[in-house]
């Protein structure tokens, strides 16, 4: 955490918001029962620590448990066994210190764009002037200042994603959770959104847990990539290349090596991709 980031923290904040927190996952198990009656572990004794300020991508084939893990961290699901804690505080139910950008569109259609961005601040009791100012600032940061008064129906899919990102950042979480957020936007928009997220992340120094099935996306964004398979962590690697990482950066030998190993984990052998 840099001094600049501390200085820039908005004055309305209460508690240690806006600073990256450490997530610890200990022996986490989530068991589901299929309709046939047999039980299976979506999460099978997962242990994981995400350091404060770290940008972690979790990749894995569908059904590997990555979304279940995210759901547990968000607090929208209850683990069968094991512990989750943020900066040592046990996680019990959803909370604003853990912001989530959903895969699907989560922008409230009955609120104007600016009211969407200010919603989290409003329910947490931030005064009207302060939340208007904060919401306007984050809308400007994601490049949407000009549609503050618009209804969500007037926005494109990529713009709605930006609204969701502004909403989450305006709420000053310590841990940002992203559940395949850009799976449904086009390639160019996705690249632009990556830049926006990285800019906001480096500005606010929060911890990020970004779930994706896209290896290139993980390589573009992450400090650290974790691979999950059948409810277990099977690989955990650091990516040290400088950011921003363009197309040619992803072609560097180090990155290609990462990519080959990641693809092997995902079930695509050498020469098949």
């Amino acid at each position: 955490m840099t001094t600049a980031a501390v200085r820039d923290r908005p004055s309305w904040e209460f508690g240690p918001q806006g600073i990256g927190a450490t997530l610890t996952v200990t022996d986490l198990v989530k068991t589901y029962r299929r309709s046939g009656g047999e039980a299976f572990n979506a999460l099978d004794h997962v242990n994981l620590t995400i350091e404060a300020g770290q940008f972690v991508c979790i990749v894995g084939p569908s059904g590997c448990g990555k979304s279940t893990l995210l759901q547990m961290v968000t607090g929208l699901g209850q683990p069968t066994a094991g512990e989750l804690a943020l900066d040592g505080k046990p996680i019990d139910g959803p909370g604003p210190e853990r912001g989530l950008v959903f895969q699907k569109d989560s922008v409230f259609p009955w609120m104007r764009v600016i009211d969407n961005v200010a919603y989290g601040l409003k329910v947490r009791g931030v005064a009207a002037d302060a939340r208007k100012e904060i919401a306007e600032r984050y809308l400007a940061e994601v490049g949407l200042a000009h549609v503050a008064k618009a209804w969500p129906k007037e926005l494109s899919g990529g713009m709605l994603k930006r609204v969701a990102i502004a909403t989450t950042f305006a709420n000053a979480p310590q841990l940002l959770l992203m559940d395949e957020p850009f799976a449904s936007v086009d390639y160019v928009t996705r690249r632009k959104l990556h830049r926006t997220v990285l800019d906001l992340w480096s500005e606010h120094q929060l911890s990020v847990m970004f779930v994706t099935h896209d290896v290139d996306e993980a390589l573009t964004l992450a400090d650290r990539i974790i691979v999950m398979k059948a409810g277990q962590i099977v690989d955990d690697r650091l990516v040290t290349a400088d950011r921003p990482r363009g197309v040619e950066d992803l072609a560097a030998p180090e990155m290609v090596e990462h990519k080959e190993i990641l693809l092997q984990h995902l079930g695509i052998g050498d020469g098949e991709h």
């Binding site: 968000t74 139910g93 699907k104 989560s106």
Partner: protein, 303 residues
């Protein structure tokens, strides 16, 4: 996204709309079609009146013609003016007059309308509240689920006499009866709409820090409104049925009571005229409901 243009005076807005309708062939055809159907019905009725010479009793035709309704029937309604405003009641020896019939229609319509309005407001408020409680709280569901399930299929018209005996005066009986009819519709509609709120909105609110009550008031309530529009329209329809039904059986005033008397004396022309008045008033009430709900669904995607 476009900046809102400074509001224009009403008249020019109306002119604009008229111009838009004129320019849009689809809407023009729709209008022409609607007007044609009404014209055919009106002319068809008149033809039927001219062809059919049957009478229920002398001076009271089976199919009253339009001139007959406009002169004889309408003026006859002045029987229902209780007197005042310079027009003496017919029962007190006053003459039947056009002015008296206008007063009578206004007065009797008002009697029906205020019962309908109060009954609707009560029913909508209670039905919505109970449905929100039932869908929000497990305890409310346990307590209220069975009674509401029992009330729902009850044949409404069959219990009007009970209501009037229980609630004594016809007015309170009619109001509670309308409230019950409307309340049941709102209960069902709200319960169903709450069940259809996409869970992602509720989850998003919870993640952003909203508590359960807050989530309910700021997410669930606005999210159900579009689906509730059809419930509101259906409920207005059944409120009219309930209002006339209650008056038909035992009120001293109101449009339904005129129908009752008309039925005793087989005045088909009066029943027909009251029917037309009800259709007009009901249409106005639908239009008002639609106009009022318009700003509340401004956010909805255009279909």
């Amino acid at each position: 996204m476009a900046e809102v243009v400074a509001s224009t005076p009403k008249t020019s807005a109306r002119k604009e709309r008229r111009a838009r309708v004129a320019a849009d062939p689809e809407r023009r055809l729709y209008r022409i079609g609607a007007v044609t159907v009404v014209a055919v019905l009106v002319i068809g009725w008149q033809v039927a009146a001219m062809v059919s010479s049957g009478e229920v009793k002398p001076g009271h035709p089976f199919v009253p013609s339009w001139p007959f309704i406009a002169q004889h029937t309408l003026v006859g309604l002045s029987d229902y003016w209780p007197g005042g405003l310079g027009v003496e009641a017919v029962a007190d020896g006053g003459e039947r007059s056009f002015l008296g019939s206008v007063y009578a229609v206004a007065y009797q319509s008002f009697q029906t309308l205020w019962r309908l309005g109060v009954g609707f407001a009560l029913g909508a408020g209670i039905g919505t509240t109970v449905a929100l409680l039932v869908s929000a709280s497990t305890w409310a569901r346990r307590i209220l689920s069975l009674p509401t399930q029992i009330i729902r299929p009850f044949p409404l018209l069959a219990i009007i006499p009970i209501f009037q005996l229980w609630f004594g005066t016809a007015t309170i009986g009619a109001i509670t009866f309308i409230a019950l009819a409307v309340g049941i519709m709102f209960f069902t509609g709200v319960l169903n709409a709450v069940g259809n709120v996409p869970p992602i909105y509720v989850q998003n609110a919870r993640v952003l820090g909203a508590g359960r009550v807050r989530t309910y008031l700021t997410i669930v309530v606005p999210a159900i409104f579009p689906e509730l529009q059809s419930t509101i329209m259906l409920a207005i329809g059944s409120a009219w049925t309930a209002a006339l039904g209650a008056e038909f059986i035992g009120a001293q005033t109101g449009l339904g009571q005129i129908l009752t008397v008309a039925k005793y004396f087989s005045y088909i022309d009066r029943m027909f005229l009251i029917g037309i008045i009800v259709v007009v008033l009901a249409s106005v009430s639908f239009a008002i409901a639609q106009r009022l709900s318009k700003p509340m669904v401004a956010w909805m995607p255009d279909r």
